[in-house]
Amino acid sequence: MLIKTIGHYFIFLGHLFVNRESFKTYYKLVLEECIQVGIGSIFLVVLVSTFMGAVTTVQTAYNLVSPLIPKYVISQVVREMTILELAPTIISVILAGKVGSSMAGGMGTMRITEQIDALEVMGINSVSYLVLPKIIASILMFPMLVIVAAICSLVGGYFVGTMTGIITPNDFIYGIRLVFQEFGVFFALIKAVVFAFLVSSISSYKGYYTTGGALEVGISSTQAVTSSVIAVLIADYLLAQLFLGGL
């Protein structure tokens, strides 16, 4: 059953590039999707990541009980956690809930109200017309949102750390800059692109093949979120092994 579903998913992906419309058509659709995925999610991303950074700072400080460990290690740990894991992975999981369910719900509703059939009857490849812009927009927007999340997370950590007296501003900045490896940012962006593809394509797939009525649209949305999150977590592990673990 799982193998069949995966096979079906790859066939679905194959339809993305067959019998496409003009680039002009996609340009407008991609922009519309970028607004929905990017602008529509920015408030949530800023909110979650700021608190994520703040909480990480407090909890790291709480665990560093030895007086021999310098304070700037707190911001160093926050930086590494944020850039390598929290910003790309947690934000992608959150976006799977917000953007993924919206994509699946929208596609499912279009399916049960025959809007997808209407596109097909007009001779339009509905997979390519509806799904490709979502995937491109997600691939463009997720890395930007991850960068925003990383910055907000560090800013959140900075304010909470300095205002509560956990760490001085100078120590925090010093820790952030100490032994900074640019590859970490590059790796986070690679993860964001992979997660964007997985979330948008899996959610669209689940929505596209919805059958039944309103209840099934809800089920498709839930399945889209669950499947996307599982795929993101598996991909997270594989990418970590591939780029950091010497697989």
Binding site: V18, N19, E21, T25, T109, M110, T113, E114, Q115, D117, A118, E120, V121, M122, G123, I124
Partner: protein, 249 residues
Amino acid sequence: MIEINHISKSFGDKEVIKDISAVFEKGKPNLIIGASGTGKSVLLKCIVGLIKPDAGEVHYDNRDFGGGDRDMKTEIRREIGMLFQGGALFDSKTVEQNVMFPLNILTKMTYEEKIERVNFCLKRVSLENVNRKMPSEISGGMKKRVGIARAIVNNPKYLFCDEPNSGLDPQTSILIDDLIADLTEEFDTTTIVVTHDMNSVMGIGENIAFLYKGKKLWDGTNKDITHSGVKEVDDFVFANKVMNSLRES
């Protein structure tokens, strides 16, 4: 002209369409009728290619729709206009954008030409001053008319209507039927209407195929249907007490 030969379709163990052949002529409404669950909509979806039949062929003016290559299939589909049961209007687009949609995708017309064509089609279905309204802001009958406007906007050679009267009051139903008949004559399209509405049958049924349990049991015109001599057809036509009393009298 659309010709279907020996179309069959099953879902699992259930055979929904059984070896149906028919010819749908150009320039007049062709009706596929029958009780609910007899496979009318499935047959229509097989004809337009939304469902792949298990067996049989569909020919659009002697062009093999199922057996042809992808380009030919796309070419034929771009000559099709279809009115769906629920209208199938795009919820995120206005009435104007909905009607203009096929022109945006399938033509290279300028914006002014497209607007002119959209307004012509909306006027043709007696809808004016609704261009900026969203589908959720208009009535069921208006949605059907917008659906018809969208179906005819690109001058289709083939027009398909799936239950055009479902959920409409009798007067609006007659209006929609007359509109379909007029448009068929005006644009010389090959029109196929799936319905179980007897008003439609008697009003515009110039070429009728009666389906019963997935099989084509009878074909003829609205003039013949009241004396078809087929029990199942009589049961369908005279299901209404008034019609039955008329027959008896």
